[in-house]
């Protein structure tokens, strides 16, 4: 986790079994500026260890696009935890 100068506001969206585990559809968080998608994952896991199994097979999306783990998150970004999909 980088020691950012400031905190930024973001929103995280939960779906399917992630939503069931979290008991909510979304979560607003203040995270360090310059935080990457992978660092947010670590932060989320630290606060919610009950997510560890499903998170290990999930991808993250930033503003409705799949993100690499090193992609930086910006103020007001909407992050989605995307567990393995099963549409069709």
């Amino acid at each position: 986790m980088p020691a950012g100068n400031r905190l930024i506001k973001i929103r995280i969206l939960f779906f399917a079994s992630v939503r069931e585990i979290m008991g909510k559809e979304e979560l607003d968080m203040d995270i360090p500026d310059e935080c990457s998608s992978g660092e947010l994952r670590s932060l989320l896991l630290k606060n919610h260890p009950e997510l560890s199994k499903i998170i290990s097979s999930s991808r993250f999306a930033i503003n409705a696009s799949f993100a690499d783990w090193d992609q930086k998150i910006c103020e007001n970004d909407v992050i989605a935890v995307v567990p393995p999909v099963s549409g069709g």
């Binding site: 409705a64 567990p83 393995p84 999909v85 099963s86 549409g87």
Partner: protein, 136 residues
């Protein structure tokens, strides 16, 4: 024609959208709620989506299909919410001047949708248990 809907999917609308005097081949795929999945009886399903991202992914898949095969029109509609046995969860339609392309494009769209589009299915079993499906 790319849609996510909470209503019954009217496949005739997809066929109408894709049929055209230029295209002699039309392929329609319907995914319907069936009795058994992986050996376990399902009573009903619930579908959930990250809707704006799902629509975006569905559009990208259809664009990609058009770039890979010489197809005319493609329509893709996914249902959300509670579905009973036999109901249509997804419909894909593709038209082309030639049948091979129409089959391939339609099948490609389904494969990609199942791999990448953020939509999830919950199976509700006769014993009252229900589980979100997250393929390995």
């Amino acid at each position: 024609m790319i849609e996510i809907t909470h209503q019954t999917i009217e496949h005739e609308k997809l066929l109408e959208f894709c049929r055209n005097h230029q295209y002699g081949a039309v392929v329609l795929f319907l995914g319907t709620v069936r009795d058994f999945s992986d050996g376990m009886p399902s009573q009903s399903l619930d579908y959930q989506a990250y809707e704006p991202m799902a629509i975006k992914c569905m559009e990208e898949i259809c664009q990609k299909a058009k770039s890979l095969w010489s197809v005319g029109k493609i329509a893709l509609v996914h249902r959300l919410g509670h579905l009973e046995l036999g109901e249509t969860s997804v419909a894909v339609c593709a038209s082309s001047a030639h049948r091979t392309e129409a089959f391939q494009a339609c099948q490609y769209v389904m494969e990609e949708l199942k791999k990448h589009v953020p939509i999830w299915k919950k199976e509700n079993r006769p014993d009252g248990k229900s589980n979100w499906t997250h393929p390995e």
